[in-house]
Symmetry: C2
Subunit: 149 residues, 2 copies
Amino acid sequence: MRQDGVGIDLETSLGYLLKETASALRSALEDVLRPLGMNVTHYACLELLAQRPGLSSSELARGAFVTRQTMHVLLQALERAGQVTRPAEAPTGRSLPVELTPDGRRLLEQASAAVRGVEVRMLSGLTTAEQAAASAALRAMVRSLRDGA
Amino acid sequence: MRQDGVGIDLETSLGYLLKETASALRSALEDVLRPLGMNVTHYACLELLAQRPGLSSSELARGAFVTRQTMHVLLQALERAGQVTRPAEAPTGRSLPVELTPDGRRLLEQASAAVRGVEVRMLSGLTTAEQAAASAALRAMVRSLRDGA
DNA sequence: TGCCTCATGTCAGCATTCTGACATACGCTG
DNA sequence: CAGCGTATGTCAGAATGCTGACATGAGGCA
């Protein structure tokens, strides 16, 4: 408990709790993805491509919450590893549509199963209604945070 | 929507939403802390010290969700900047109790006000009951994630 | 048409954080 | 008492992600 009324009580702060939860989730994901030679950003990139093939590097960056420069170097590595492909030149504008290769898709299937396991474990103590309420609350928070900026 | 049943639908995944919210919060915090010359970890360190003076470097690291090596270099910088102090040798064991200086406390007051503003904005669209529900859900998720590891 | 703004891809350099390693100090247990 | 496991502080090197910058292409508008 704080004596003064100025600071933020970390024990009850939703922001702090959010950071704690995200940190725990990240750790758990890294634990299950490491055996596959992947990290969280790598997995997010592949999962995004499975759902929306043809996304550009910049769009993938926004979806994985990193800068486009970071995604650029990741895509170079994934291209070398044969998990994704990009055309030599842009069909229109400057954006190069990225797609999964069969190898990338196979790797993603293993990763998805592992990630799904973590998510199931994370939600194991919550009812469906509680999950829906949490989801709605998080969406409202994102909206408020974005509006202000 | 996914065709196959193996992957994770990012539009509805609570894990993805959690990452998105944490990312938005982090961005918003960095925006208000940058004018003060601070980052999120720096702020978290000072806030922890205000609430629990005498915490060791390793304990601060756990509280700020970074490694103790990272906290170590941060504390060196903060010590040079005159925001925290540490005794030359440990009173017992190896752990050195860290404390805020008056300068550090003054800086923290400004940062706390800024951070509080962001948190208020983040929660502006939620009722008190909804906040409590979200808090309980996040706590349950942390517990489940930690248990499995 | 020419210009202005914006988004993208890409390169280079820097900052931050992590992993690995080692020595030291405490507490427990045989 | 001796040994073991654990936690801490610290150093060094490596990985990761970011900021800054530049050129290029698309679209809107005078």
